[in-house]
């Protein structure tokens, strides 16, 4: 069998002249020998070597072919596998597309749900949902919600604190309320008291009380009731007058009849008057006598007082500007060095008070007045001390 080797184009390009010669058929060898008779043997040998080499190379090529075929088969297998893989990938893609469609559906559904949530959320807290991919949105939403939950938790804890604070505040306010309630009660009691006072005042006012300092009460002269009575009274008086006139006439008539009896009555009365006048004269004389006796006795009493206590006493009555009657005593020591040395005292309903004058206002005397009268409350001690002092002055001088 003759194997016709058809070289690959790439191999052909690599070949040299020898390689081409080697490919020449055996029929052409005679031609070579014809053309090149001197080199025939050596060239045959070379050609044989070359054939051998070519055959070896052929073999190699065959091996390579086999290897290529194997590779081709393998590639085919691989292609089948790839096809299968592609098929499975296609189905996978379809599955994924379906999945995507379902996910998109899901997304739309969730979008709607999110929209609904967003709407609800916007009403409740005004939070906004960031637009974008559904998942991202959801994740973002979830994150937001988590944040929200955290916020709510912190808010809750804050609220708890606030609640505690408010509870305390409420307790405090309750206490305050109780205090206020107590205060209200006391105010109510006070109010009741004031109301009763007002009622009392009103009753006084209603009763007609008034202050004469700024009010006077006037009455309108009312003759309505009196007029009728007056008419009746006038009539009664007129009757009475008539009666009296008649009686008077009767008396006059009677008097004329008994004129002598009238003269007797007159002389009796004049006698009576004389007697009474005499009585009066007697009583007047007695009064005079009593006056003289009293004056004598008083004079004796004064003199005795002067001798015993060392003071001349003059008494007279005064009326103070406020209308109260007081008795004034003027004392002058019998040892006085001058007439100005007089002590004045006022006696009023059992109380005797010294009256400051020019003499008693002298420092020396004033000091004694202060000590004996003001502090020791003793007028006798003062007068006695003054008596002794005046006596000493008089005797020493």
């Amino acid at each position: 069998m003759k194997i016709i080797f058809i070289p690959l184009l790439s191999d052909v390009l690599r070949w040299k002249l020898d390689d081409f010669l080697a490919l020449l058929p055996f029929q052409l060898i005679g031609i070579q020998e014809f053309l090149f008779p001197s080199l025939q043997t050596r060239e045959v040998l070379d050609s044989m070597t070359k054939v051998g080499e070519i055959q070896a190379r052929l073999k190699q090529m065959e091996v390579a072919l086999d290897a290529a075929e194997l590779e081709k088969r393998e590639a085919d297998n691989e292609a089948v596998l790839a096809k299968e893989k592609a098929e499975s990938s296609k189905s996978e893609i379809k599955r994924i597309e379906l999945k995507l469609a379902s996910v998109m559906e899901e997304r739309d559904r969730l979008k709607n749900v999110i929209e609904a949530f967003r709407k609800q959320k916007s009403v409740e807290s005004g939070h906004e949902v960031v637009s974008g991919a559904v998942l991202q949105e959801l994740e973002a939403s979830l994150a937001k919600k988590e944040n929200c939950i955290k916020e709510l938790e912190s808010y809750l804890s804050e609220q708890k604190e606030v609640n505690i604070r408010q509870l305390n505040e409420i307790k405090f306010l309750n206490e305050k309320l109780n205090n206020e309630a107590r205060r209200i009660k006391s105010l109510e009691r006070e109010g009741d008291g004031l109301r009763s006072q007002i009622a009392l005042m009103e009753s006084k006012l209603g009763h007609g009380d008034y202050s004469s300092a700024n009010t006077k009460v006037l009455r309108m002269v009312n003759t309505l009731g009196v007029e009728n009575e007056a008419k009746q009274t006038i009539e009664a008086l007129q009757k009475e007058l008539q009666k009296t006139k008649e009686q008077l006439l009767a008396v006059q008539e009677l008097k004329e009849q008994s004129a002598d009896a009238g003269a007797m009555v007159d002389s009796y009365i004049s006698g009576k008057i004389m007697k009474l006048k005499e009585q009066i004269a007697t009583l007047e004389k007695r009064e005079e006598r009593y006056k003289t006796v009293f004056a004598d006795r008083i004079s004796v009493f004064r003199r005795a007082c002067c001798e015993l206590f060392g003071y001349k006493i003059v008494m007279d009555d005064h009326q103070r500007p406020d209308g109260i009657a007081v008795t004034r005593f003027m004392l002058q020591s019998i040892y006085a060095l001058s007439d100005d040395e007089k002590l004045e005292f006022e006696y009023e309903s059992g109380n005797t008070n010294i009256v400051t004058n020019k003499y008693t206002s002298q420092p020396e005397i004033s000091q004694q007045v202060d000590i004996f009268i003001r502090r020791m409350n003793s007028i006798p001690a003062f007068t006695a001390n003054l008596t002794v002092e005046s006596f000493n002055k008089r005797t020493l001088s």
């Binding site: 009763h207 009380d209 008034y210 300092a213 006077k216 009460v217 006037l218 309108m220 309505l224 009731g225």
Partner: protein
């Protein structure tokens, strides 16, 4: 602006004094009628304050009340009238049985500065009407006046008021331990009048 001012209910001191003194006149008539101080037949019916009021036809009483209201109006205009009292007494013993007390508070600013106030005539009339109704219904709780009675009018004035010819200074003719009933008040925004009736405490009724 002018029309707005014109539509307001302005009340002056003189107008207020006229309303109050007129009220005293009608109130006195009503008391004398309802308490039977003068016989029923000596009164005639008139329309006033949206009510049927009774006015005396007795010439003496009519003159007395008209002189009274004239004098009261004069005092009200000076703001020196503090109170008016209508006293009902026993004719026989002179004992005071009832005192109808009308206390008056005068807006001193109006008297001193001559300013006016705002209040509708209608409202004042409505307030007076309420008092007149109370006077008429007072017969339900006031003790019966079983003996002939006479009345007197007292005026509590400021001390510097000159005593008019027909008036004399008087004691307040008080009732010892009286019962009292306060009636409604009315206010012209210049004069505020409080009405109160005090009457002799009837022990017999208290016990029953």
């Amino acid at each position: 602006m002018a029309s707005r001012t014109a539509s307001k209910d302005i009340i002056t001191l003189r107008g207020s004094a006229a309303i109050v003194s007129e009220y005293f006149g009608y109130a006195s008539n009503s008391i004398l009628y309802n308490r039977g101080v003068y016989p029923e037949e000596s009164f005639k019916k008139v329309k006033k304050y949206g009510l049927t009021m009774l006015l005396t036809e007795d010439e003496g009483v009519k003159t007395f009340i008209s002189n009274l209201t004239a004098q009261l109006a004069e005092w009200l205009e000076t703001g020196k009238l503090q109170r008016v009292v209508l006293v009902i007494m026993s004719k026989a013993s002179g004992e005071v049985l009832e005192r109808w007390n009308f206390s008056i508070e005068t807006d001193s600013e109006v008297v001193e500065k001559g300013v006016s106030r705002e209040k509708s005539d209608k409202e004042i009339m409505r307030e007076i009407q309420a008092i007149m109704r109370q006077i008429a219904s007072s017969i339900t709780y006031l003790p019966c006046l079983e003996e002939p009675c006479v009345f007197d009018v007292l005026a509590y004035t400021d001390t510097d008021v000159a005593v008019p010819f027909t008036w004399i200074e008087s004691d307040p003719k008080l009732i010892a331990n009286p019962q009292m009933v306060k009636l409604h008040s009315f206010d012209t925004k210049i004069h505020k009048v409080d009405t109160l009736v005090s009457y002799k405490n009837d022990d017999e009724w208290d016990e029953s």
